[in-house]
Symmetry: C2
Subunit: 597 residues, 2 copies
């Protein structure tokens, strides 16, 4: 009897642990777990915001998986966007498990795996829509859906508690570029069979209506081609292969040669056309370095940089810094991508510079040159109505998007109590009867990477950077002399002082003084160095005073106190903090260094 | 003959020097100059973006005016928004000139003048719409226009070359809250008389159609009042007095008491109601500290924070950090303001947190709770058609807004050659026949202020901060011993080392070593300190290696080289830069300090 109960309580259950994507855009990663087995859907990364200085990449914290690595049966990928596959190399370095994805998804993922030397040991398994894979307690069926990249799938999991459908990113494009519709029939069949839990994409939950077909922008771009009488720059994400397909078709129609620039764009175009996901006549392709050899109206240049990324081709051209491409008066630039929140300023700067060069600019806000790959409210309702799930959990988005998606679910009749808005790191327990959020997993979170992925950026380092950027740093360096009878000549020190002052040209400030050696520990030299605090040429007086304060702090310490480096530092830090705050209303990091000789 | 020509070339001309607002939002300030006289329209400031860490305020560089201070006859203000008056105290500290503005504008401006101790000496002259002021070669007529703050004026300047109309901010609100329409009659009369140059607001040039009346949001807010059964928070800019008037009226209708929180909001409400610009029944006002004493449905709280400003009332409430106000489940929050580009992330964070507390949120993107105070395309065309100027110059906006406004001007028939898109710091020369951009004024630009306005933030300091924020700072401190025969005991140094390591708890890293004293100048102690670079607990090995590299750099220097502090620093900096770049792919600021004893 007890045994039966225990079996019911544990063996029969499925836990969900969202490691990323619930409370932010990006980092998509969901753990599904039974007593014996774990599978993971997607391993995405995220790009940092402006409030994370010096951060290159953000990965989900995968301690939860590493601690249970013997249970992990596989990683399932829904599609080839970086917010779903970008952390794969990072995960595979720590977990040696099979990966399942469609042909294009794995081909794109392989690029980065190769770059980070994990391709060799990676167990990549190609699946096709319609395939089913058995992974311990889970059976995963891959279902084709339309999105801005081909070969995208939703995943239906058969689990001990019932069917879970994890949509990944999707829209219902009724006229997709590659002719492959979302597999509505399979979704409807699952709905008839009975879906226990739907886990669905909330990206566009706040948009009313239906997301238009990818094909809906064709006319606008065609019109832009017709009117362009000089060079034409078409800028989009390197993974927007349906978009690129349309650009290439229109280039053919308008008899322009196609130059592709940017490593990621070139890689994706090459991969997709080799695998047949992009229909490309090589006769129309030219090397971007040769673009200037043709007349302006004979070429179209495909490039990246739609988000104003400073090192992208478009940003370089906007500032006339690109090695071989130039935007000139009369050229046309199409930014065929979403303006991602947070990037408005950077994009605006690029637009302003391009306009100054005399280019015509078409972007999302002034022309119909972009359409989303994510379903809007009515698409999300269609998914809900096709599947008619008992329980519903929104994923992919900030809290406001998840909340809005929850409202949509209730609006189509899902019981309010059965709609669960969870966030990263919460544990969701699913039984055949219930779905409850029952706690938090302590070790979830984000891993910030700056430079090499081996060097995780700790929160404390990031906090330091933010404080450094606010008010700079002041480093008082104090040499304390033990009373050894050593002859410390003032003249010698003077010449040293001159060396110091003359020698350092790129220093925002150095002030140095000599204090006569007395008995006990004495301040022999005091320097105050600063970066990012005040401009020294104008603040000599301020630093002279700071130096005096430092000296008097030391002089007022007892010999016992002087022996305690911590005490010396604390006293100096406190005195200078008060002084600088009063004088400048700034709060630099103050970091006293005590040297003893 | 020569004299006549000279007279024509100089005496007859008017120069325009935009010191701010042409190429950005904010900083609005325009200089109009003849041979004898200068007048200035508006003195705005700007708030910094995320890419300017630690900057509090931005002012226009006014060297151009200071160098010509004896010519400046007056400052004319169009309205009381900070992007038009926020730099007045900064300007009046350097220029002792009369200021002209309407009653409300001067009342609002006085607050900041008082705060910065310039109110006493300020020569403030109140004007009313319809008034004309003579200022040397200029005669300025003030013309009422509608905007989001009452008592706004456009200014018509009669100059030696003809009439210049400077619109300031405006819309054509046909049903303004205070019943005072834009003075279309006067504008039309000027148009008939003949306008030489129109200088007009481009803020909303990219928006199609007409900006709706301020009154158009009344119904939505009314509806929100009806549905709110708990506390209601209404959040807007402290200067949006028409908006605040509507909130107060609706509070009366729905029998809610009004609590106002936030210093700027309280000041503006007090000033405007004293002067009769706000119709306010004091019986309905309560102290925000007492709001919790009433039932939730009995109060409405007016607050600021619509841009997600971290120290605003709304942001504090979102994080449950407000001293006496609390957002709770079932409360309603209305963010009745524009989502300013660049603030999306901060606003999104506040919205997410408010939703987590269970509040209902209405903002610009999901409800009709905000309307702009700036005219859209059709309003701008109406202004152009009323005035029918010979020349046109768009102001107030980024380059893309100015360009769009220029297109609108051409679309209503202004000759393309007569439309001049200038930017900050360019000099525009206006004769009775021509209008030409003929150069740049070198000393224009921006003054960044961090802390007290006395401490201008130099570009080099800002650049340092940005670099510090990217990769942190590393400070190697080297003590070089002159060979004085001094007995430097290793034991002593060891205990010092322990002191150092124990003493500093909030240091991200200190590494220290002892090098035996030999002959000549020797490295006695080497420490490497870092902030914002790597997390020291995990990077001890890295810093040990860095220390070894520093030591070997010094050992490989000749005694002569060791005498040159600059050489020692350069060598250490170079070696460590290469080392850190290879090991971590990061480029911290490296700032060696050489101490000599």
């Amino acid at each position: 009897m007890t045994e039966d109960l225990e079996f019911e309580e544990t063996n029969g259950n499925v836990s969900l642990v969202p490691l990323g994507g619930l409370g932010e855009f990006g980092l998509n990663m969901m753990v599904y777990e039974t007593e014996n087995d774990i599978i993971v859907i997607d391993t995405g990364f995220m790009l940092p915001n402006a409030d994370m200085p010096g951060v290159d990449l953000i990965f989900p914290d995968i301690h939860y998986l590493v601690e249970r690595k013997e249970k992990v049966r596989g990683i399932l990928l829904t599609h080839g966007h970086e917010d779903h596959i970008g952390a794969l190399f990072y995960v595979l370095r720590q977990l040696d498990v099979p990966v399942y994805g469609t042909q294009l998804t794995l081909a794109i993922a392989s690029g980065r795996l190769r770059e980070y030397n994990v391709l060799g040991k990676a167990q990549l398994n190609t699946v096709a829509p319609g395939d089913t894979v058995e992974l311990g307690d889970f059976s995963a069926e891959f279902i084709h859906v339309t999105h801005s990249i081909p070969d995208t799938v939703a995943i239906a999991l058969r689990t001990p508690v019932g069917i879970i459908v994890h949509t990944g990113d999707f829209k219902f494009d009724m006229t997709p570029i590659d002719g492959k519709m979302s597999d509505i029939q399979t979704l409807a069949r699952l709905g008839s069979e009975g879906v226990h839990l739907l886990v669905s994409d909330s990206t566009n939950a706040e948009r009313p209506g239906q997301t238009p077909s990818e094909r809906s922008i064709y006319g606008t771009i065609d019109n832009i081609f017709q009117k362009a009488d000089q060079k034409l720059f078409l800028c989009t994400f390197s993974s927007s292969l349906h978009r690129i397909q349309q650009f290439i078709e229109l280039a053919n129609v308008h008899r322009r040669l196609v130059a592709v620039t940017g490593r990621s764009l070139l890689n994706n175009v090459r991969t997709a056309s080799e695998l047949g996901y992009l229909n490309l006549n090589p006769d129309y392709l030219i090397d971007a370095r040769d673009a200037s050899m043709f007349k302006p109206h004979e070429v179209v240049i495909l490039c990246t940089g739609s988000q104003g990324e400073p090192r992208s081709a478009l940003s370089l051209m906007a500032l006339d810094n690109h090695p071989f491409l130039k935007v000139e008066r009369g050229d046309t630039v199409v930014m065929s991508a979403r303006i991602i929140p947070g990037n408005e300023k950077a994009i605006g700067n690029v637009v302003n510079h391009l306009l100054r060069r005399g280019a015509k600019i078409h972007h999302e806000r002034n022309a119909n040159v972009h359409v989303s790959g994510h379903g809007s409210s009515e698409d999300l309702k269609l998914m809900l109505n096709l599947l008619q799930p008992k329980f519903f959990m929104p994923v992919h988005g900030e809290y406001q998007n998840l909340m809005r998606h929850a409202e949509l679910a209730e609006s189509v009749g899902i019981q309010s109590d059965n709609v669960k808005v969870a966030e990263d790191g919460e544990l969701i327990r699913l039984t055949s009867e219930t779905c409850e959020i029952f706690g938090r997993e302590g070790r979830s979170g984000r891993v910030l990477v700056d430079g090499k992925p081996e060097f995780e950026l700790e929160d404390i380092v990031l906090r330091d950077r933010i404080q450094l950027s606010e008010d700079g740093i002041v480093v008082p360096v104090i040499v304390l002399h033990s009373d050894t009878g050593a002859d410390i000549s003032t003249t010698d020190n003077k010449s040293n002082l001159e060396n110091m002052l003359n020698g350092i040209e790129d220093v925002s400030g150095i002030v140095q003084t000599d204090i006569p050696s007395e008995t006990g520990l004495n301040a022999g030299q005091i320097e105050i160095i600063s970066r990012g605090f005040v401009y020294m040429d104008k603040s000599e007086e301020l630093m002279e005073e700071a130096k005096e304060i430092t000296r008097s702090v030391i002089e007022n310490l007892s010999d016992e106190q002087k022996q305690e480096t911590e005490t010396v530092q604390d006293e100096i830090r406190g005195a200078l903090r008060r002084f600088f705050s009063k004088q400048t209303q700034r709060s630099p990091l103050i970091f006293p260094v005590v040297m003893r000789v």
